[in-house]
């Protein structure tokens, strides 16, 4: 590819977000030039965290910041425990044995030899590597980045995890509702999408059509789409129930599509349940996307969709909502977590609270083509303003500067 550096660097975003935004990012980065920043999470495959780090890290490096990304390794039993933790932090009533928690801590300890922590900042993502905080050397700034819906966590588990979180110098949450009372400074930094990624860049309509046909989806009939991991919190069964109500009135199709994240052992079971239900209805397509080229497939499916649904009952942020909005589609989202920060009711999408809500809004929109177009345009505009990677990078850089001055609220640079 010609001129690769320019295509992949921050300059590539100037035509979309404007030269002043890019200049501002450069200025912030200049204050951090040479800083060594280490990100640690638990997987390099699947999920929003992977997508964000996959883009933020090279962009920051291109700006002269020595940003790295490492993952901890764990066993199946470790990830079963952390998935249980994930569910409990999102409100499920789950109990943990002493043995499970000890093993969780031990796997973190076992990862120490693999990770070089001779840096200026360590950013730990989510609960899986949270106990690593105790091993971060003195003088390194320790930041915990929470990507999950922590609005009503299981109290017992949060009391346990809070003991680790308290040891950080700062923590970052997607939205205010997830923040907790902690003895350090907290930051709100919503996640973002990359408009130039394979998942979000423009695709020729012929390619979109070919993708649909490959999956046996009829390009002539309206498509209602939910893209997400097969996870109970995404309520795929509820989406099918809603679709069956809509299908009584409109000749349309439902596509559920997701991939399997390496740190989510529960996904295969949920997928089986969904597929069993989908197999009974010819217009319901439940797709398990293979890793190969899956971002391109998601892009095509989202561009082909008439309406995008994200009927989550708990949601850290819902980047699939952001992706759908970026493609100028009307999005119907569960009124939970980060979805409420993205959708302004009736302006750039609809927030719903039930299976009936999804069915009602689908039927409402399917009769109003003009409304769908207006809503899609407003949706794209709001992503451009608030949820692109450039804003995310700018917030990250500002946070790295601010965390060094926790007592100051106004910083003159």
């Amino acid at each position: 590819m010609k001129n690769n550096g320019k295509r992949n660097g921050i300059e590539a975003y100037a035509p979309l977000v404007g030269e002043p935004v890019v200049a501002l990012i450069r200025k912030l980065a200049a204050r951090l030039r040479g800083a060594r920043v280490l990100n640690i999470n638990s997987t390099r495959e699947g999920g929003g965290v992977v997508e964000i780090l996959g883009r933020l890290v090279p962009l920051a490096r291109g700006l002269g910041i020595d940003m790295r990304w490492e993952t901890i390794q764990g066993t199946r039993s470790f990830f079963a425990t952390t998935k249980k933790m994930h569910n409990a932090l999102q409100g499920n009533q789950v109990n943990f044995s002493e043995r499970e928690l000890q093993y969780y801590e031990q796997v973190n300890r076992d990862n120490l030899d693999r990770i070089d922590m001779d840096v200026d900042y360590v950013i730990i993502h989510d609960p899986q590597p949270c106990p690593l905080v105790q091993y971060i050397p003195e003088g390194v700034t320790k930041i915990w980045r929470c990507h999950i819906d922590l609005s009503r966590p299981n109290r017992k588990l949060w009391r346990y995890l809070r003991e680790w979180v308290k040891q950080y110098d700062a923590s970052i949450f997607h939205i205010s509702a997830f923040a907790q009372q902690l003895p350090h400074k907290q930051f709100l930094i919503p996640p973002s999408i990359d408009p130039h990624s394979v998942k979000n860049r423009p695709v020729p309509s012929k390619t979109v059509r070919t993708t649909l046909m490959r999956y046996g989806i009829d390009p002539q009939r309206p498509v209602i789409l939910q893209i997400s991991r097969y996870d109970r919190f995404k309520d795929p069964i509820g989406v099918i129930e809603a679709f069956l109500m809509v299908r009584k009135h409109y000749d349309c199709q439902l596509v559920l599509a997701g991939e399997q994240a390496a740190d989510d052992p529960e996904g295969a079971q949920v997928y089986e349940e969904v597929r069993e239900m989908a197999d009974k209805h010819p217009d319901v397509h439940a797709l398990m996307l293979s890793r190969e080229n899956n971002h391109h497939k998601v892009n095509c499916l989202q561009r082909a969709a008439t309406i995008i649904v994200q009927k989550s009952i708990k949601e850290g942020f819902g980047l699939t909502v952001t992706e759908g909005m970026w493609k100028a589609k009307p999005v119907i989202g569960g009124a939970v977590g980060g979805i409420t920060a993205q959708i302004t009711e009736g302006l750039n999408g609809y927030l719903v609270n039930s299976v009936d809500g999804v069915a009602y809004r689908c039927r409402y929109l399917l009769t109003r083509e003009k409304r769908m177009k207006e809503m899609g345009r407003a949706a794209k505009k709001s992503v451009l303003e608030r949820f692109l990677i450039t804003r995310h990078l700018s917030d990250y850089l500002a946070m790295l500067l601010a965390v060094k001055h926790p007592a100051r609220t106004m910083i003159e640079l």
Binding site: L24, A177, A179, L188, A402, E412
Partner: protein, 219 residues
């Protein structure tokens, strides 16, 4: 007369959640009393920067929450109609908001609470200001700079300026007043109900007024 250059500042703001939340007006009163001035600033003034170009119906976070989450449009209207820039500091603004809520509760009651997840979340803020690339030595350069500036820079020189400048004026009219003999222009720039303007609209209005003065008074 030597003209001091106008230096466009770049501005970045981050929100800092406190973990404090209120489910109804009584709780909101308690929380407003206990939070830092910085939190009041974030919800009453900095809310303009977050709304940027977006269409909005309520100019501050308290009014927005009262309308959209609490569905109490009477108190939302009172909070929206309040002008914080007539006050000297955040403690006066805090007292006024408490007064508005208190009066509402006295007259209308106010025991309603929102459902779980729709509480008001109190956040502080950390802001950064630094010299931008652009400087202006005359009105034409000022206009060109405004056209190119980030919206956050417009916020800084207008909304933020009122909490920083002695005499509670914006940076732009202050600079013109002290460097050019153009009282008419200064008066126009200070004559708007800018609290209700989006940053985009504000930028366009300033540019329009400057354009009007450029050919006649400068060239």
């Amino acid at each position: 007369m030597t003209v001091e250059p106008f230096i466009f500042k770049d501005y970045v703001a981050l929100e800092n959640p406190t973990g404090i939340r209120a489910a109804g007006l009584s709780e909101m009163q308690v929380c407003i009393r206990m939070v830092d001035d910085n939190v009041i600033y974030n919800h009453m003034i900095l809310s303009h920067l977050r709304q940027r170009r977006q269409r909005w119906e309520y100019p501050n976070d308290f009014a927005k929450w009262a309308a959209y989450s609490l569905n109490n449009f009477v108190v939302a209207e009172a909070l929206a109609n309040y002008s914080p820039f007539e006050r000297k500091d955040m403690s006066e603004i805090r007292d006024d908001i408490l007064g508005i809520i208190d009066e509402h509760m006295w007259n209308h009651g106010g025991r309603d609470v929102v459902r779980q997840g729709w509480e008001f979340y109190f956040n502080g803020c950390t802001t950064f200001a630094f010299d931008g690339a652009c400087r202006a030595n005359n009105l034409r350069e000022l206009r060109d700079g405004l056209e190119k500036a980030n919206l956050s820079s417009i916020y800084y020189h207008y909304f933020e300026a009122f909490t920083r400048q002695e005499g509670e004026v914006d940076d732009i009219s202050f600079w013109i007043e002290h460097n050019f003999n153009l009282p008419g222009l200064v008066e126009q720039l200070r004559g708007w109900d800018f609290y209700f303007l989006s940053l985009d609209d504000l930028r366009n209005k300033i540019i329009r007024v400057l354009n009007h003065y450029l050919p006649k008074d400068i060239e």
